[in-house]
Symmetry: C2
Subunit: 201 residues, 2 copies
């Protein structure tokens, strides 16, 4: 067994080159999609690239106990559905706002998103923020970034009686592939930069 | 008794002019500071001025029950201290980020803020977002907007052994007064607009 100087085991996959082929099944490395995004955001923060955070899970608190000399204990609460997206923050002054979704299907089922989330994304776009979804296709271990403007097309198609999912071909045509990396693992900011900022200089 | 056409009682204070004198004790109107900010954000959203939301309260969930045929019930959870600020969103493409604090003191006690919140505000400013605190002086029923850059001065003064609060004179000199309005009640966006956007056109 190989160990790092800090005593951590060397698993054999951690020292890959920055750009890992998308065939790598990173889900087997014990890091789920959300954790990989959180780790990427942490990387962006520590390297002064962007300040983007996951919002806390919305909870409806019903009953709280206040024991003497110790912290308040929530004894009854319920999960609320999110009225906005899960992640937001700032990159070069611009407002960034996105949702991350995973699917095991071949097509991306639009029921993974809620009406109020899509409404929120429309508001973000209206106010000139940058909004998108990150999709992890667990079946292919591929990650795509689909900008909100393109998502709205598929969403409205569904609302007008069309198909309830985005096909793999449509994703391939409209979305940007994000190659899995070492650090950051899911470098979505590089796509934002090349689309919105590089050609504005 | 006077009633509106919708049957709602006319309380005598609801029909004030847009700019209400600061001597009005609006806390007696049954609306606390946070509710007034939420109502202002709702106004901005509905009038397509900005999309700014309060983040959910961060909760550490310890125990969840999954009763058959009903929603998951959180049976044990604790409040976590916030690692960022309470409010963020987008105004004309710019990232907006702020914290709201109330004090009954004459000076504003800096212990109302946490290190990690101020660290977060520094990151926002570094990434060219717009960051500030809204302070409600309950004693005077006055509301001020203090930009993060000015807050850092007082924060660092405290960290260097100086006073642990911002005096009333310092606030008057450095912060912007927000007059209470009818709609929106706390029109902080007008200050952002005049400081950051009007002179950039």
């Amino acid at each position: 067994m190989i160990k790092y100087p800090n005593g951590k085991k060397y698993s054999g996959t951690e020292l890959r080159e920055p750009s890992v082929p998308s065939s790598v099944d990173y889900s087997n490395r014990g890091m789920d999609f959300e954790e990989a995004i959180d780790a990427s955001n942490q990387y962006y923060l520590e390297h002064n690239i962007a300040a983007i955070h996951k919002k806390p899970t919305p909870i409806q608190i019903v009953k709280v106990d206040y024991p003497q000399r110790s912290a308040a204990v929530i004894k009854e609460a319920y999960y609320k559905s999110a009225s906005t997206t899960d992640y937001n923050g700032v990159f070069r002054g611009k407002y960034i706002d996105f949702e991350a979704k995973e699917t095991k299907q071949v097509s991306f089922p639009l029921q993974n998103l809620h009406d109020h989330q899509v409404d929120h994304m429309r508001q973000v776009v209206h106010h000139k923020g940058i909004s998108f979804i990150l999709i992890h296709y667990a079946r292919y271990d591929e990650i795509y970034l689909l900008f909100a403007e393109d998502l709205f097309f598929f969403w409205d198609r569904m609302k007008n009686g069309g198909r309830k999912s985005i096909t793999r071909n449509e994703i391939a045509e409209k979305a940007q592939t994000i190659k899995l990396g070492f650090l950051p693992r899911i470098d979505y900011i590089s796509i934002i930069q090349s689309k919105f900022l590089d050609d504005r200089r």
